[in-house]
Amino acid sequence: MHQQQFACLECDALIQLSSIAEGEVASCPRCHHKVIDKKHDSINRTLAVSASGLLLFIPAAFAPLMSMKLLSVESSASVYSGVIALWGNELFFVATLVFLFCLFAPLIKLVSAFLVCLGYKFNSHQQAWYKQLLVFYHHVDSWEMLEVFLIGILVSIIKLKDMADLSYNIGLLCFAAFMLCVLSLKLTLDKQMLWDKLNHGH
């Protein structure tokens, strides 16, 4: 009924949209906010990106990011061990936050993006779980903070580099690649297109 109409999310202007081709972007005439961003080959690209992200999750979360050697004692840290160490310091709230922002939210995002695209491929997008998953994805979307964590790694490296011998481990590479996969979901997944393919009616 209202397929041709769209309201800007930032200024509520009603916009009449004719068909938009893949790769084109529509902006609000009043506040210039991006209203629709049609993405190229969204499903296949999202599948590729989320599958590689899922493969990288285990090494990114559990493999040591870097290790430190001081007086011939060596210790290393991973994202997971950071959470555990905070928990051990009795900072339960902070440990939970780091867990949610850096492990749980990105993983859940990848899993739901993967399942949504798979569901789309196998034509199961009229099923209830598919809709639930899209709603769920919308809610976890903005809670992932991997890029902040990466800069956090950089800051801690610089803070420690005068104090001890630091070496970088394979986990750092995996973490950076994992972060890129999660970030590129923003570029590949076209939520609007997926929603518009859903029938609705009362």
């Binding site: 200024c11 900072l91 902040v148």
Partner: protein
């Protein structure tokens, strides 16, 4: 793409509202709660009590900002002894060692960003009720930046997590996290809630209800 630029009608004037989740335009019946027929999310013309809620969250964040900076976030212990560091004293320490770029990054991410976010939201809330020197475009842009950069204030918390995990070498050196980290985490979450409860469409609402005040 063809859009009608001349006469802008808002969805609200037509009795329509966009579903916040799936972006379907839904007709609003003011007498009852409205739900999106496509994704079953609750749909509303404007975020309910947006201004009040945003004031409340922002004031809470301002209050939480104080312990976040007053309490130590971590202590470096050499042979069991050490002085606790707050965020600001940590930055001073970095400056002392001549690490200026990293000191600037930490200062911006964990002090300037949250403060600017709080002050910015206060400004936006104030500007809704009073006239403002900034145009609606500038204020919308400001809100967009507040939303985007808010997450960066988690930086210091992540650094603490890594340092605590990494530096645990027997009795020689140990880094212990302090209560400031919790206060800081609380503050960041509060500012995120504050930014989310602000409805940018309110910035534009007055323009249509009061055409005397057209800008541009």
């Amino acid at each position: 793409m063809d859009t009608n630029v001349e006469a802008i009608i808002t969805a609200k004037e037509k009795g329509l509202a966009q579903c916040p989740v799936c972006h379907l335009l839904v007709e609003i019946d003011n007498a009852k709660d409205n739900y999106c027929p496509r994704c079953d999310s609750k749909v509303y013309l404007r975020i309910n009590d947006s201004i009040q809620r945003c004031w409340a969250w922002t004031i809470c964040s301002l209050i939480a900002f104080i312990p976040a900076n007053a309490f130590p976030i971590m202590t470096i212990l050499y042979f069991g002894k050490g002085q606790p560091d707050t965020i600001l004293s940590g930055i001073v320490l970095l400056l002392k060692f001549g690490m200026y770029p990293i000191a600037a990054i930490v200062f911006i991410a964990s002090f300037v960003v949250p403060l600017a976010k709080i002050v910015g939201l206060f400004f936006l809330l104030y500007s809704l009720k009073n006239t403002s020197k900034l145009s609606k475009h500038q204020r919308t842009k400001m809100y967009r930046y507040i939303e985007i950069f808010g997450r960066w204030s988690m930086l210091d918390v992540f650094v603490v997590a890594l340092l605590v995990a990494l530096v645990e070498i027997g009795a020689v050196v140990e880094i212990v996290a302090g209560p400031g980290a919790t206060a800081f985490g609380v503050m960041v979450i509060l500012t995120i809630f504050a930014a989310n409860s602000f409805d940018p469409r309110l910035l534009w609402d007055r323009e249509t209800s009061n055409s005397m005040e057209q800008e541009r």
